[in-house]
């Protein structure tokens, strides 16, 4: 299918690169030593995706999300998920109101009505409450009391979860995990980074971040991402990667119970487009797909129990997929080998 939208021009790409560089530079002042995490978060937001950050407490996940909201000048809300949290606590409730015109139920919007919803420790809420987010994440609207309410644009869910607490947690179901564009594992900091944190921060003091992008500029960037050209060879590569994750299709998918969904293929294309804009290119490339594949596919591949017992991980499967499936599908003859230097 031909792409009807014109690809970004050089002028647009230059302006976008400058804006994004400002955004990333500001976020680096919020979160030290997590350049890759910041890049992934910016890429995910540009792709209009919901992000799931997994990491130990105190690594700056919440600060990063708050900083992102501050940089973009967007409205953000934070919900601390707990086991007794009810769906209405997130989506909002109809409230009985008595006015001069009479008695009626008035919908009181919940915290989900924001541009950025920070769902802190999402795996502490019950499955019923978690599923209340499904419609909001996918349809970007909320239905309560028989009425459907559209969420503000743009709308992102940035959720965090703690991987070490098992007591009182409810692992996210696969259907909900699939709705997150990225699952990003937040790693620990090095000693140098910790030193910078100690020197520049004070316990309890929240860093103040000034907006670096207006809402209009940010919406313009989102529109620009959609115009990134997707070459057919890259689309073919995405399709072969996702298809290769299905059980029995490739050697890398040994031990896989359920492979990535078609939504994963769309997510790869969207995230790749965002990365292309971040790198000032009007087209998607193999390298873009490979850069985001770990974060896009990792949480969408479900392993067999036996494979997990053998030490296999979804991340390992993705690594094997990237190594096994070449960018050029036609194999080289036996008399030649690739000289590609990793």
């Amino acid at each position: 299918m031909s792409d009807p939208k014109p690809p970004p021009t050089d002028t647009e790409l230059t302006a976008a690169s400058a804006s994004l560089e400002r955004l990333v530079a500001t976020l680096r002042t919020v979160l030290f030593g997590q350049e890759e995490l910041i890049e992934l978060v910016v890429t995910g937001v540009l792709a209009r995706g919901h992000l799931l950050l997994e990491g130990l407490p105190g690594l700056g996940k919440t600060e990063l999300v708050k900083g992102l909201a501050g940089c973009l000048g967007l409205q953000s809300r934070r919900v601390q998920f707990t086991p007794d949290l009810l769906p209405g606590d997130i989506t909002g409730n109809p409230v009985f109101e008595e006015t001069a015109a009479g008695r009626r139920f008035v919908f009181q919007p919940g915290p989900v009505f924001a541009n950025i919803l920070l769902a802190d420790e999402i795996n502490r809420a019950s499955p019923k409450t978690q599923s209340a987010l499904l419609e909001a994440m996918q349809e970007r609207r909320v239905t309560a009391g028989g009425e459907t309410h559209t969420l503000p644009e743009p709308f992102f869910v940035l959720a965090t979860q703690n991987p070490i607490d098992l007591e009182g947690t409810y692992p996210l179901p696969e259907a909900q995990l699939d709705r997150f564009l990225f699952k990003i594992v937040v790693g620990s900091n090095s000693a140098d980074v910790l030193k910078r944190i100690v020197l520049n921060r004070e316990l309890g003091a929240v860093p103040v971040v000034a907006p670096v992008l207006s809402r209009e500029e940010f919406n313009g960037l989102l529109a620009l991402v959609r115009r990134v050209h997707l070459p057919e060879v890259v689309a073919d590569y995405i399709a072969r990667l996702v298809h290769g994750s299905q059980p029995g299709v490739s050697a890398a998918s040994a031990g896989v119970r359920f492979g990535a969904s078609p939504r994963a293929a769309l997510a790869l294309a969207a995230a790749g487009r965002a990365r292309a804009i971040r790198h000032g290119r009007p087209h998607l490339s193999f390298e873009d797909v490979q850069a985001v594949a770990r974060s896009v596919l990792g949480h969408r591949i479900i392993l067999e129990h036996t494979a997990r017992l053998d030490g296999s991980t979804p991340q390992g499967v993705v690594e094997k997929l990237l190594a096994e499936i070449p960018a050029q599908p036609k194999p080289l003859p036996g008399t030649l080998r690739s000289a590609k230097i990793a």
Binding site: R281, S285, E287, P333, T335, L336, A339
Partner: protein
């Protein structure tokens, strides 16, 4: 770099890459095909060199074979051929160009500048094709360079095959003994002469050698059989001369005489006419005459069987009656009793098929179970006229009794009564 410069560079490089990949694909298929074609070609080259045949048609044939191998390889490799667009994708993936070449081709992005140093995208892996082609080249070189022996330098073998010479020698020796029917020997001599009349070039054909060997074996076997009959007759007559059971001796003598008349080689009629044919004639000779006759018959048997000495077996007792080369073998290098050169091992007399050695069919006094008295060949003779139609495969001796068997056959009367009382 200006796009007008960069674009030709990258397009040329993609075309070159596709060209090399296609050569690699063709080479992968060509190497084993070339080896398969080179093997018969090498054989043909060597054969033509050895026969001194024409070189030009051979060279043309090998050339056609090489072209055919290249065409077959091309046909088999065509599915793996790269087009320029595919090579371009491989090029940009190998050089980490972020698909800029594809995007530039589609008019989305600018052509990237040509690199200062041209990094290779593919590397050759030629161990397998080099092995095939090297082996083929070695075969061809061997066929061209291998020395060819000069056939004219070999000593020519004149005369008939050794087996035929031996056969003729045995016939001559038997004729000299005058113990065998001249008519039988004449037939054998005629067969030997027929083999000897073959053209010298075909004397050593497989069929001619087989025929000469078969004739030699036939004469040797027949002579051995006749010799044993002579010795059996001598033994019987000697028993009579020693005062033994004349009736039994007469029977054994009759059996030996029968063998002399009915064998493949029959005894001389004059000799047979001198032999006592029955009990009366046997008793009509004095013991001295009988002893003398037994001695002569024993000598005749030994001489007849001794004809096997021509094959290096048995006891040669002919002396000057046989040619100098037709005696016992000279033995192996150590002087042992090895077979004579160019002779085959004959079966011993006791291994001769169809012969009832030491036992006559009518005398079973010394036979034991399992002894084979004789062998015969035969075949089933089915008479379709005697077809009687379908017949049952068997008859039921007694109908099954089922559960009644328990009552009738297995229970004691007391048990049967108890059971009847229980079910009443």
């Amino acid at each position: 770099m200006h796009p007008e410069v960069a674009r030709p560079y990258w397009e040329r490089r993609a075309r070159t890459l596709a060209w090399w990949i296609n050569i690699g694909a063709w080479l992968e298929q060509f190497a084993p095909v070339f080896f398969a074609a080179a093997t018969p070609a090498a054989v043909a080259i060597y054969a033509v060199r050895r026969q001194g045949g024409p070189q030009l048609p051979l060279a043309a044939g090998i050339g056609i074979l090489a072209v055919l191998a290249a065409t077959i390889a091309l046909w088999r490799a065509r599915a793996g051929f790269y087009r320029t667009a595919e090579a371009r994708v491989l090029l940009e993936a190998g050089l980490y160009l972020d698909n800029r070449l594809t995007a530039a081709t589609e008019g989305v992005a600018h052509w990237p500048g040509a690199p200062a140093k041209s990094e290779p995208v593919i590397r050759w892996r030629l161990q397998a094709p080099a092995g095939w082609i090297g082996a083929a080249a070695a075969l061809l070189a061997l066929s061209v360079l291998a020395p060819i022996g000069d056939a004219s330098a070999l000593p020519a073998f004149a005369g008939p095959p050794p087996s035929l010479v031996q056969t003729q020698g045995m016939i001559t020796a038997l004729q000299a003994l005058k113990l065998v029917s001249p008519a039988d020997l004449e037939k054998l001599a005629e067969r030997a002469a027929e083999l000897a009349r073959r053209p010298p070039g075909s004397q050593f054909d497989h069929a001619a050698l087989e025929a000469a060997d078969a004739l030699r074996e036939q004469i040797a076997t027949a002579a051995a059989s006749l010799g044993r009959d002579f010795e059996a007759a001598a033994s019987a007559i000697q028993a009579a001369a020693d005062g033994g059971d004349l009736k039994a001796a007469a029977e054994r003598l009759a059996t030996a005489l029968q063998g002399m008349r009915d064998g493949s080689l029959t005894a001389n009629q004059e000799l047979l006419s001198l032999m006592p044919g029955n009990l009366a004639e046997l008793t009509g000779l004095s013991p001295q005459q009988l002893a003398q006759l037994a001695q002569q018959l024993g000598l005749a048997g030994a001489q007849t069987r001794g004809i096997l000495g021509a094959l290096g077996r048995g006891q040669g007792e002919f002396g000057d009656a046989l040619p100098s080369w037709l005696g016992q073998g000279n033995g192996g290098p150590g002087g042992g009793g090895e077979a004579a050169p160019l002779t085959l091992k004959l079966p011993s007399p006791t291994e001769t098929k169809g012969a009832a050695e030491g036992l006559s069919i009518g005398d079973l006094s010394r036979a034991s179970l399992g002894d084979k008295l004789s062998t015969s060949a035969g075949a089933h003779e089915a008479d379709p006229a005697k077809l009687v139609g379908n017949t049952s495969a068997g008859a039921v001796a007694a109908p099954a009794l089922g559960g009644d068997a328990v009552w009738v056959n297995r229970l004691t009367p007391a048990e049967r009564a108890a059971l009847k009382g229980f079910f009443k």
